[in-house]
Symmetry: C2
Subunit: 352 residues, 2 copies
């Protein structure tokens, strides 16, 4: 069996034991609180893990783009949620094809999106569930008020081939309470209008751990929980020792005693820090911080007793695991130093 | 012939006329100043453009990773510079194979790198030129002093199968003068040590335009000049109307009068702003700024009379064109609204 020493750098390593433990821990939490788990595949982009997540108890998966959903459907995933406004003839046709072969649901936050869906899905015998996306504070997509949510839900209810599927939100980071209140109000108002709201879907790994039995949310769409990263650790979700994804990299230069250069730059680690200081952390090298990136070089600043040598290999825990997955064509599943399997990142780069 | 209206979004559009004009303008500048041009392919990652750059007068191309150089060699590019410290058995073997089929040169800034090169390249009849990388202020790779440069050059000179090829630097942005002084000193000191320095290679699109006939630099490795982007425009290299690369995107949501959401997020535009405010600019929509990105959504803030509608397509000029090229599997070459050709981004994602 090959070892990580046999791999060329930079390369993504996935510690299988850690990822499996992260899956099990989240599923147990969800089960304990009566929450359905619908993992977002954006973090791994791999059928391998999507199947493991479902096998562990997830009700299905979440994809953001039709191209991702197609890859997952091809791999046998049977229940897919696309919380995105799907627009345009080409995408709607692909969505229709997908609806024929998997249990599908989508979202909408506008009449423009609904009009396209209603014109495409016309079979009352096989209706597409459409959830209303709500902006509960994150300031991205979503209706701005309960009355807008009710208006859209009523429009969905009127159409032949689509059906009101509930509410969906992506809450502002760390403000799950606000999202709860918003959604509880909306559910009540919908009920008063005669519209039952059986599914309320929320997202974000950190907030999942704060949701308890009294939550209005019925399903969660965490993504990063499977790999974790520096951002999740900063938010208190696990420790560095729980992070399953690392980037194996080689020290290619050491121009000064306090500066070393890695062969992993923004093309491997991405420039997405999610607001953290530094671009990554070196496993097992205290006092080494990735303080700068250009496309093909990572600048490491060494302090205290930290030492590196040219040619040495290090493992970087990135700030944001999901965007790193999108940069590599393959990942290596590892157990300690052993490479168990190398997988193509099947849903990488699916743009539409 | 298909139109850009037929493309799914998000998608990269390359305006062929603009890119060709940018190539011609840079080559004319280089010719006028007696500079050799050796374009960095990181910006486009396409044999198509590498060949056009050579046809226009470039002496060869620059790649950063062996995998990129292999793609370019396969496509027939004959003279490739790899300004990178190549380390490790696997990469050195690939480098050796590459040296058999193209005119190759590399860099080194340490004895560790030199040792590997000297052990791999042993044929005095076919020596590999190795340039000494110099840190002239950018704080990345490179020797820190003239005396270090001389010491390395002498070591190269002693080895059988490699030959001292000159000096190479990536200057600090906007501080080309410092780099000039550093390199002039080093050249003089090398000459005093009996080492001729016929090739001095520098990089960076903005600085290329500042180099005149009195420069110590003999060749430039500009990358972004072919496409340009918001950063280059901010640095005074051309205007928005010279930018050849745009990302075609659809407005998928318009939650408030001043907020619209695009289907291009950090997975399409990257989080790399190169220090600019905002993540991109919408062509032809004054008062619309891409103020936020998540992976699959771009937040546009509208001000003044700026208006967008859901379903509308817009073209985004990104902050940094090179990193955008690395995120897409293909690009569409356009002339006005016509799509001339769709090309795979052959050297995308080549990590090692």
């Amino acid at each position: 069996m090959p070892s990580i020493d046999d791999l060329d750098t930079p390369a993504i390593l996935i510690d299988v034991g850690r990822a499996e433990a992260n899956i099990a821990r989240a599923q147990a939490h969800a089960d304990r609180h009566g929450l359905k788990l619908r993992p977002h595949i954006k973090t791994h982009k791999l059928p391998y893990w999507a199947k493991k997540q479902v096998a562990a108890g997830a009700v299905g998966i979440t994809c953001q783009k039709i191209g991702e959903a197609e890859v997952m459907a091809d791999a046998g995933l049977a229940d897919i949620f696309l919380p995105y406004n799907i627009l345009g003839k080409a995408k709607l046709e692909r969505l229709k094809a997908l609806h024929r072969r998997v249990t599908l649901s989508v979202t909408s936050d506008s009449m423009a999106t609904l009009d396209g869906l209603a014109a495409t899905f016309t079979d009352p015998g096989h209706r597409l569930p459409v959830l209303v996306e709500c902006d509960t504070g994150a300031g991205r997509c979503g209706v701005q008020s309960t009355s807008e949510a009710i208006a859209l839900a009523k429009e969905i209810d009127k159409a032949r081939g689509i059906v009101f599927g509930g509410l969906m939100t992506y809450p502002a980071a760390g403000r799950a309470g606000e999202a709860e209140a918003w959604l509880a109000d909306a559910r009540q108002a919908l009920a008063a209008s005669g519209l039952a709201c059986e599914r309320i879907s929320s997202g974000g790994t950190p907030d999942m751990w704060r949701s308890g039995e009294d939550s209005v949310v019925t399903e969660y769409r965490p993504g990063t929980y499977i790999y974790l990263d520096r951002y999740q650790v900063a938010k208190g979700v696990g420790s560095l020792d729980d992070c399953a994804l690392t980037v194996l990299s080689t020290v290619v230069s050491h121009p000064t005693p306090t500066r070393a250069i890695l062969d992993a730059g923004s093309k491997a680690l991405s420039s997405d820090t999610l607001g953290l200081a530094d671009f990554g952390e070196l496993l097992g090298v205290l006092g080494a911080r990735v303080t700068g990136l250009s496309e093909e070089h990572g600048n490491v600043t060494l302090s205290g007793d930290a030492r590196l040598r040219i040619g040495e290999r290090v493992r970087v825990v990135p700030d944001h695991a999901c965007v790193v997955s999108n940069l590599f064509d393959e990942v290596h599943l590892i157990d300690g130093e052993k490479v168990l399997e190398t997988l193509p990142v099947a849903a990488r780069g699916r743009m539409g």
